[in-house]
């Protein structure tokens, strides 16, 4: 499903040169649920951005779903993100002045094919928010916003769900609901990668990859 070969990401140049990811290789199979953990500055976010095709490695190769992403241009990467990757953000990142339903529909703005009628409503229902469809983000609680965010991430039937500290801005109860939802989705076969520094979140993944200073220091089978 996912394969990183000797991936290095360098920001800046000269004296300001920072190596965020240093020669990382790893592979993740379809249907896995993986936690990427490590202290801040360890390169977690950078690796997530490369996995999400939001950024390209300086060196090395990233293969997603059997296809190398190296030679893809910006438009092709956008298309790839739209079709294959769902993003869940720490800050929810719902579009402002846009209702819950419109947010869930948003990925179809950038898809070649139009959204099937009733699909977004069904997806909102799936995360238990059918009754909130016409509410704006600022009228929803954090937990509700994150569930709208998950519905949005799933609307295009992605092969990979990438979550960056998905429970970081939530109370324990709401965070638990989000993680339960992830577990359910994973059980249905969705590949999920969660970046977190929260040991409890990481503990719910099948395995975790630990980063430090841009290198993998520990990759194990996890606690599950």
């Amino acid at each position: 499903m996912i394969e990183m070969k000797n991936v290095t990401k360098v920001f800046g140049s000269g004296e300001k040169r920072v190596v965020a990811i240093d020669n990382v290789s790893c592979s993740i199979d379809a249907g896995e649920s993986v936690a990427v953990v490590g202290p801040s500055g360890s390169g977690k976010t950078t690796i997530l951005q490369i996995l999400g095709c939001l950024d390209k490695p300086t060196e090395g190769q990233y293969v997603l779903d059997g296809a190398s992403t190296e030679r893809l241009n910006d438009d092709q990467l956008s298309l790839l993100r739209n079709a294959k990757i769902g993003f869940v953000f720490q800050g929810f990142n719902l579009l402002p002045r846009t209702t819950a339903l419109e947010n869930v529909q948003a990925p179809f703005l950038y898809a070649k094919n139009p959204i099937a009628s009733g699909r977004a409503e069904a997806m909102l229902d799936r995360v238990g928010l059918a009754h909130r469809r016409d509410h704006f983000p600022n009228e929803l609680s954090g937990g509700e916003q994150q569930r709208v965010g998950i519905a949005r991430a799933l609307i295009r039937d992605p092969q990979l769900l990438l979550a960056d500290e998905p429970t970081g801005n939530l109370d324990a109860a709401s965070g638990g609901e989000v993680l339960d939802l992830f577990k359910e989705l994973n059980a249905q076969g969705l590949t999920i990668i969660v970046v977190t520094h929260d040991k409890n979140v990481a503990a719910r993944a099948q395995r975790s990859i630990e980063l430090s200073d841009g290198r993998i220091v520990n990759a194990n089978g996890g606690n599950s």
């Binding site: 999400g52 298309l79 579009l95 703005l109 139009p114």
Partner: protein, 414 residues
């Protein structure tokens, strides 16, 4: 991204942040208002003048020749009544034949304060002995009966056409046609009544000529006054652009016919409504041009304001941009969204400005005594200018938004 989706997303943004959009476009609204109102006031003055002249003179596409020049008027002041006897019907014929760019010439003998008796009432009226073309060139509408005809003129018939005021004064029941009227002691038959002009009704005193009566010119010359000179010629122009040249040729012909020597004053006077209107409106033209430039500057500054606020918006909305990119938006999608949004804000401001301008055209004359007229093409031009400003002002912020790398845009903390 489909255009319909872009439209939905951008109108949504503008509609759901109305105050922000309004503030953004305020400079443009102001610019449109200034340009429109200034043009409307200039156009209003021009139209008011033209309508005043039309109601007085009947036509503004003509040159009027009045008997009596500067020399006579001076004499009149010093020695009392002096009548100029040199302007004749032959002059009218000569002008029609010899001066280029003349489509028709009408002549009139004018006699204010002519005694009238009819229907048991008596008073005075402004009498005009006219050639049949006079009323038709003026475009006086007939309310009842008919106008003076060539046959009336040739046969020196004692027939009269009443102006609307005269008709309603002497025949309030409206049955004037066929009745008899005594004009300057002779009996005339009423053959027609003129309708009152709309301009006259609203113009009141100055423009109103409703208290006039028309009789055939030859009847006036031979049977009433026994003279061979007229008061005024109306020289209708074919092409108003050559008015100046025609006026010069007209002047030369009359001076020659009246045997006026070099250095002597004219014994006639030309009145040119178009020139008079142009002169009256040109007094304010300089000031108006300056205000229009202020309007144009307001539009430019309005555009800069819009561009600046959109630039600020691209910073404020980095998370939105990053999120959209993550959801699959290409650079082109982001460019399109922000550009269209700016154009939309500008066009909305332009439309609001035009709406406010038309409102002002209605409301301002209720408060101040002024005439405003906003031609549609000025309103449209001002709106088109705001659209253009939006296109230019929106391009650079939109390009900046599109160029933002998604990873960077997403790593910004709000």
């Amino acid at each position: 991204m489909r255009w319909s989706d872009t439209w939905n997303v951008t109108t949504r943004t503008v509609r759901r942040a109305p105050i922000r959009s309004l503030l953004m476009g305020s400079g443009l609204i102001l610019g449109v208002l200034v340009v429109s109102i200034t043009t409307a006031s200039g156009e209003g003055v021009r139209r008011e003048m033209a309508s005043m002249w039309k109601s007085m003179a009947g036509s503004i596409d003509a040159i009027f020749v009045q008997a009596g020049g500067p020399a006579q008027r001076g004499g009149q002041m010093a020695h009392g009544e002096t009548v100029t006897t040199t302007l004749t019907i032959e002059d009218a014929l000569a002008i029609g034949q010899q001066v280029p760019n003349v489509s028709a010439v009408a002549a009139a003998l004018m006699s204010p304060g002519t005694p009238i008796e009819a229907n048991g009432r008596s008073g005075t009226a402004f009498l005009l002995g006219v050639t049949p073309s006079w009323a038709s060139l003026r475009g006086d509408p007939i309310a009842a009966g008919r106008d003076i005809r060539e046959a009336d003129n040739a046969a020196m018939e004692r027939v009269v056409v009443l102006g609307s005021d005269a008709a309603s004064e002497y025949f309030p029941d409206g049955n004037a046609v066929g009745q008899q009227v005594r004009v300057a002691g002779a009996t005339f038959e009423v053959v027609g009544v003129h309708a009152s002009l709309v301009e006259e009704e609203s113009g009141g005193g100055m423009g109103s000529m409703g208290g006039y009566i028309h009789i055939p010119l030859q009847t006036a010359l031979r049977r009433v006054y026994n003279q061979d000179y007229v008061s005024t010629l109306m020289v209708q122009l074919e092409n108003t652009k050559e008015e100046e040249t025609t006026a010069v040729a007209l002047s030369e012909l009359l001076r020659q016919r009246h045997a006026i020597q070099e250095g002597e004053y004219d014994d006639f006077q030309l009145t040119r409504p178009r020139a008079a209107i142009a002169q009256a409106t040109s007094i304010n033209a300089g000031i108006r041009r300056m205000i229009i430039w202020i309007g144009v500057v307001a539009l430019v500054i309005g555009g800069i304001v819009v561009a600046n606020l959109m630039f600020a918006a691209t910073s404020d909305r980095q998370t939105e941009i990053g999120t959209r990119r993550a959801l699959g938006a290409t650079k082109g999608d982001v460019l399109q969204q922000f550009w269209v949004e700016t154009v939309l804000v500008a066009c909305t401001a332009g439309l609001l400005g035009v709406a406010l301008s038309y409102l002002a055209v209605i409301v301002v004359p209720m408060v101040w005594d002024t005439t405003l007229y906003l031609p549609w093409w000025v309103a449209f031009g001002a709106f088109a200018a705001t659209a253009l400003v939006g296109l230019i002002a929106g391009l650079f912020p939109a390009r900046r938004a599109a160029a933002m790398p998604p990873a960077v845009a997403l790593s910004v903390d709000e």
